[in-house]
Symmetry: C2
Subunit: 477 residues, 2 copies
Amino acid sequence: MAERITPRSESYSDWYVDIVLGAELADYSPVKGTMVIRPRGYAVWERMQSILDGMFKETGHVNAYFPLLIPESFLKKEAEHVEGFAPECAVVTHGGGEELDEPLVIRPTSETIIWSMYKKWIQSYRDLPLLINQWANVVRWEKRTRLFLRTTEFLWQEGHTAHASAEEARDETLQMLEVYRRFAEEYMALPVLTGVKTPAEKFAGAVDTYAIEAMMQDKKALQAGTSHFLGQNFAKAFDVTFQTSEGGLDHVWATSWGVSTRLVGALIMAHSDDKGLVLPPRLAPTEVAIVPIFKNQNKTEVLAYASKLHQQLKPMHRVVLDDDDNNSPGWKFSQWELYGVPIRIECGPKDMQAEQVVLVRRDTGEKIPVPVAEAPARIAPLLEDIQRSLYDRALAFREENTRDIDDYQQLVSFMEGDGGFARVPWSGSPEAEAKVKEETKATIRVLPFGNEEAAAGKRCAITGEPARHMAIFAKSY
Amino acid sequence: MAERITPRSESYSDWYVDIVLGAELADYSPVKGTMVIRPRGYAVWERMQSILDGMFKETGHVNAYFPLLIPESFLKKEAEHVEGFAPECAVVTHGGGEELDEPLVIRPTSETIIWSMYKKWIQSYRDLPLLINQWANVVRWEKRTRLFLRTTEFLWQEGHTAHASAEEARDETLQMLEVYRRFAEEYMALPVLTGVKTPAEKFAGAVDTYAIEAMMQDKKALQAGTSHFLGQNFAKAFDVTFQTSEGGLDHVWATSWGVSTRLVGALIMAHSDDKGLVLPPRLAPTEVAIVPIFKNQNKTEVLAYASKLHQQLKPMHRVVLDDDDNNSPGWKFSQWELYGVPIRIECGPKDMQAEQVVLVRRDTGEKIPVPVAEAPARIAPLLEDIQRSLYDRALAFREENTRDIDDYQQLVSFMEGDGGFARVPWSGSPEAEAKVKEETKATIRVLPFGNEEAAAGKRCAITGEPARHMAIFAKSY
C-alpha cells in the first residue's frame, strides 16, 4: 500500500500529490514539467473522453486531426495570439539531422494550423457551418507545474467551428459552454459557475471567453473549461472568406472550446478525502469492489459466495472481485478506499451465515448490511445516491464559502483569511481588477450570466464608481 | 464533386492520391511531410481504434499515456535503437524562450521513456506482467512521404509489456500478432501473411520482429502491423530488474507492438476502384446511404417514403438519408461511390409504385430491387456478403500474384516485370538478401510461419547453398 497520505489540514498541496501518486493516477516523468498518466488515471480520462465525445457528436460535431507542428510564422498572424502563446512554446529547430529553414512550434493550441486549412475548405455559405473537434496533446512551457493541473504537456480536446454569422457562432460558443456545464455537474458531480471572463482573463485571440469555474476544497477556484467566441479574428488573420447566401463576400465567424486532463485534477481536488481518492460513480472505472473476508479453512466457501455475487453484478456494473491471497482484508479495504471505488462490498463467514453482504459507501464510510439476494438491485440506486450526494456536498461547500462583499477592505481581509468566492460589485475598470490582483492575488474568475442586473444601483467595491457587474473574485489554480 | 479520378491503369500512385483527396479522407498540410486527417478519414480511424482497443482490453491490456518529449540521452542507451531512430528525429532545442540544457526529441516510438518509468514501477515478479498500451502521435522525419502510408507525423498505438520470462514475452508477442491478423482479415477484409522479419528488416532494438504483410492492388507489399520480442535489451539499457519468485534477480523481458494510421492507407489501396473509395462494411462510418429520386412535383411523397425507411434502418445500421436539394440523384450516386459507402439505396416514384427500393452494392455495382417491406432485413446479410467478397477478392488477387520461384534470373525478371510476391528458397545469407534488394528493389517481407519445412531439400535461389527458408520477396511501401 502507499505511504501515509498527508492530511488536508496539514498541507493541502502535499495531500493532493499524495493522492495522485498513491492512487496511481499519475507519476512524475524524467522530463521536467511533464507527467505520466498511469492506467488508473488514464481510465478516468477515457471515461471522460467517451462521454464528452458522445455529447459533441450529439450536437453535430465530427472529429479530425491536424498536425502537431506549426510553422512559427503562423502564430504571428494573429497579434494577440502570438503575444499570449509565443513565450510558452517548445520549438523544433532540427529534423532528420538538419537544421530547419523555419522553426516549428509544438502546438500550444491549434487555431492557426486549423484556420490555414479552413481557408482551403471554405468557399461558400454551403460549406458552413464546419463543426470539427480534435482530441490531441498540446505543449505549453510552464515554469511551475503541478500534476494534472498544470503540466508542460497535456491531453485535451479542442473544438474549432466556422460559421456564416456572428449570431450563429455565439450560439455555438454558448451551446458548448452548456455541454461543459452539464458534463461537470452531471458526471463530475462538480457544481460550476458559468459566465464570461473579463478582457484581462480571456483567451489570447478571442473576442469573448466563456468559462465554467469550480471551487476546490481549499476554496480556490479552478477554471474547468472554456468556450471562446473568436469573432472574425482568425478568419482575417488567415484570409478565410466565404460567399454569403446573398452573393456577397464576408470573413468567416469562429469559435473554439476545450477541456483537458486538468479535469482529472479538478475531480480529485473536489471530492477526495484524507483516506484517498473519491470518484463520482459515473466516472469511476470501477464502481464496485468485492472484498471477500476469508482464512485458509473457509476460503473456498467464502470465495464461492463472493464469486456468485460477482457474476450477478458483472452484466450491470463495472465490478472487480479482489480474491488476492497476499493481502489481508483490512489492507484491501484501505487500498480500495485509496483508489476511490464508490462502493466496497464486504462478505465474510458471518455474512454468509446471515445470507447478507455489507455495502460500504466510499463517500460517507456508511456500512449497509443487505440480504445477499437483494444486493444486485441495491447497487444502482446507491451509486446514484453517492453521485448526487457528492454534488450536493460540493455545492453546499461552495455556497458556504461564497460571500457578498461590497467593501474593499473586507475583500482584502477575506482573501488574506480563509478565502473563497467573493461576489463583488465592480465598475468594469481593468485598473481596479489589476489592483485587487496585485494586493490579494485574487482575480475575477467569471462574470456570471445575469450578473449585470444584480449590480444595478450598487457601487464598485474598489473604485466607488457605479457598479456594472457582480464579479466573482477568488484565488485560483 | 471531386475532379476526375486518375484510373489505376494510368497511374496507380495518382489514383491513390485522387482517392484520398477526393473522398476527403486527408489533405496536405502546410508543414512539409505532414497531413491533416479530415473527418471522413478520421471516422475510419476511430472505428479501427475502437475495435482494436476492445481487442487489447479483452487480452488484458490497459491504456496509459507517456510524455511526447524524450531526453536525447535516453535514445542512446540502446545501441541499435539510437542507430535506427536518431536520423529520423525531430529535435526540440528551445522551450519557454530559452535554450534547453539537453535537447528533447519528439518520440519516434516510446520504448525508452516507458522503460525509464518501468524501472520505477517494477521491483518484484508480483509487479509482472505489466500490460500497457498507448494511443499517441509520433514523429519520424521522412524524406519521401505519402498520405497515410508514410508521413512525418502519424497516429498509432504502441503496446509495451513487461514479463518475468522470455517464454511469456514471446507468447505475448505472438498473441498480439494474432490480434493484428484477426483485425486485418476480419475487419479490414485484408488477407495477410504472418511470420518473422529477417534481421535486416527488424525493429531497431528488437530480438525478433513479427509482422502482418499484405498485398496491395499494384502487387506491392505493405507492412500493416508489427509485434516485437525485445528480449532483455531495454531492461538492460534502463537497468530494470525484478526479484524472481525463486528469490533471484533478473532483467525484465519485453515486447512492443503497434499499428498506425497507415492502416487507413492499406484499406484504400486494397479495395478501392476507379470510381473511388471502397470500404469494408465493418469499418465504414456510414454503411448505407439512402438517395431518394425526386422532382419538385413529387418531392414530398418520395421523401416521406425514403424517410420511413431511414427511420426503420437507423436503430440497426449506420445510415444517412441524402435529402439535399441542390444536387441531382446522379451526382449523389457518384458522390456516395466516391465516399465508399457499401450500400446505396435508390428509391424514386416508380419504386414507390412498385413498393420496392433498389439496393446497390458498392463493391460490384450490382443493383438489387427488393420489396420495401423486406429491405430492413436484407441489409445485414448483404453487408456481410460484401465484407466476405472483399476479403475473397483480395485473397484471390494475392494468390494469383504469388509465384514459387527458385531461380535467380526468374526472380529478377519477375520483379522487373509485373511483380508480386515471390516465394523463394533462401539460405539465410544476409548478403544474398542484400543482393536481391540492390538488383531488384525487392526485399524479404516476411518468413511465414512454417516456412522452414517447406524449404527442406531445396537450394537457395540466390547462392545455390542449401535453403533454410522459403522467403517472401516483394517490392514494398
